[in-house]
Amino acid sequence: MDFLIFKAPMLMVQASLDGILLGILFALIAYGMALQWGVMNIINIAQGDLVILGGYIAYTMYLAGIHPAWGVIVSPIIMYFVGVLLYKLVINKVVDRDLFISILATFGIAIVFQQLMNFVFGADVVVAQSEYGTTMLFDNSVTLPNSKIFSAFISVLYAVALVIYMKKSRLGRAIRATAQNARAAKILGVDTEKVYAATFGINAALCGIAGALISITLTLHPYVGLPYTVRSFMIVIVAGLGNLPAVAISGMGLGLFEEFADYILGTEFRIGAVFMLLVFILVYRRFKLSKKREYLK
């Protein structure tokens, strides 16, 4: 325990800005999670591993001499097809089944992804250098890497674009119709199978964008996928399905929590704190609902 952060206001500003910028990134992943959960009723444990895979695509570009920021365009395109392929291979068989089946099946996918990434990219912690420099604020006492600002900006851009796409386009309408009532949508001529594939592909593409941004702002490692899954799950259960402003706000809240936990508890407990927060949120909601004799559904 270290409460130095409360004695130094600049440290708090630093942590808050870091947390909010990071949180926007988490919100982008969580949006994908909410999308597939709402439309297909599956919980994807491999979400975080899709993110990391997207990150490695940007990292590969970096190794090839291309600026990794281009990853935010290339990575989602590749990841869209990865997502569709994954849907065709496995996910389409778990869509109508018990949620636990989808949790376990995607857990299996997550293990496969982790291991394959470990083979291909090695077990080292890597980062793609964007060389964007840093911004100094408040007499150089707060430092913000420009890559973080860039990543938050891109996240917001993509999220807004996606919202507009979901509202205006034909596919977006079909996706929303399927989410509301898959059977009715089918009767009215929506090819739900295609909609599901596209939804999973869009989710994977969102993961790809987030991964590319993570590759320049944070670090990549084959085994760090699961915390991203848990973070996005947490944001979704706090914000609810299909409520984008709430997703953004709770994402930032989570980012703040993590940065402060990092300062107060120490970096070694950071991931542990994230998982404990998940447990606390679920238990809190359980007690809140049980007052009305209800439960989380």
Partner: protein, 354 residues
């Protein structure tokens, strides 16, 4: 147990004799056999949760890891300062005498059984109020958080691990060590099996099944579901803690995320084994665990480096194509064997409908 049929009696005594003779017959595989016993115990206790109660938990690994750390800590802490032990890596400076070792492991296992059960009881009220996938995700988080937190606590070795006391120096014989742990785990297996079999014949199982099938209705019928859910989880925790304690002693080295709170391996294995064999049956988890263990041991050596890929594919295949498990498949095929009466006309009518 007066109502055991003659056929069953032969089966059970045959299995017990096989179990007792196994370390002499296959003396090179004692460690593997010990693993098998522990895996069966974990699968059977998971089945109480996931199969009978319908609460699919990833969190039993929490009790397993807790039991592991507790046994080792008690075994060391009873005779030596724990902090210095973990500091020095447990080598040379402190040596357990034979009596100390066995006293330590005895008390350690006792603690490792009781504390996890108490922990399960304490957190049960909060956690078991969650349903379905929320429960699954919450317990998944709990297991991983435990691993991360244990990896940051200095006194139990933090990230560098905790060396459990080596087998007493006076009995350097490797045979004796292997046999000791094998018989310990075999005793645990028999204890667990008898207990689970007892539950299968009791009203408790019916209540658990009622909770699985429709919790709201069970509650409306006047069953205090929460009470039974907590008791069920405490039973699982009790045996998981013991299994963890034995495994800690056998492996000889405890790492927070790779050995104790090993959600990526053990935590998934127990779910997989129970599903492979068939959830909600007495013999399903036993058969599932045995098959899985043989498969794993056979496979792991041939495809070195690719084990996890194979494991992941295996999970997907079992879960997606084989969710009813072996026993479920057999039940579908030979329902008479399971005591289900089938109306031939009805069956034909159903076939025609398809």
């Amino acid at each position: 147990m007066g109502n055991i049929k003659q056929k069953d009696l032969i089966l059970y005594s045959g299995l017990i004799i096989l179990g007792l003779a196994a370390p002499y017959l296959f003396s090179a595989f004692k460690v593997q056999l010990t693993y098998l016993c522990v895996l069966i115990v974990l699968a059977m206790t998971w089945n109480l949760q996931g199969g009978e109660m319908g609460y699919n938990t990833f969190g039993n690994i929490l009790f397993y890891g807790l039991g592991m750390y507790l046994t080792a800590s008690v075994q060391v802490g009873m005779f030596f300062p724990l902090a210095e032990w973990t500091e020095s890596g447990g080598e040379k400076t402190f040596v357990h005498t034979t009596t100390q070792y066995f006293q330590g492991i005895g008390v350690g296992l006792l603690v490792a059984a009781i504390i996890p059960a108490i922990v399960a009881g304490a957190i049960g009220y909060a956690i078991l109020g969650l349903r379905g996938h929320y429960f699954a995700i919450c317990t998944l988080g709990l297991g991983i958080a435990a691993g991360e937190i244990a990896g940051g606590i200095e006194i139990i070795g933090a990230g560098q691990g905790f060396t459990t006391p080596p087998f007493p120096a006076e009995i350097v014989d490797n045979e004796a060590r292997g046999k000791f742990f094998y018989f310990l785990s075999f005793a645990l297996l028999i204890g667990t099996f008898v207990f689970v079999k007892y539950i299968y014949g009791s009203r408790f199982r019916l209540i658990l099944n009622a909770i699985r099938d429709n919790e709201d209705k069970a509650e409306a019928m006047g069953i205090q579901t929460m009470k039974y859910k907590i008791v069920g989880w405490m039973c699982s925790a009790f045996f998981c803690g013991l299994a963890g304690g034995i495994m800690g002693g056998l492996i000889g080295y405890i790492d927070s995320t790779d050995v104790a709170f090993d959600g990526r391996e053990m935590g998934v294995f127990m779910v997989l084994m129970a599903i492979l064999g068939g959830k909600g049956t007495l013999w399903g988890p036993v058969i599932g665990a045995t098959l899985f263990h043989f498969f794993k041991e056979g496979l792991w050596t041939f495809i070195l480096g690719w084990q996890y890929v194979a494991l992941g594919v295996l999970i997907v295949v079992i879960v997606v194509y084989f969710p009813e498990g072996l026993m479920g498949w057999l039940r579908e095929k030979y329902p008479e064997r399971f005591g289900e009466v089938i109306d031939e006309k009805d069956r034909k009518a159903q076939v025609e409908l398809k």
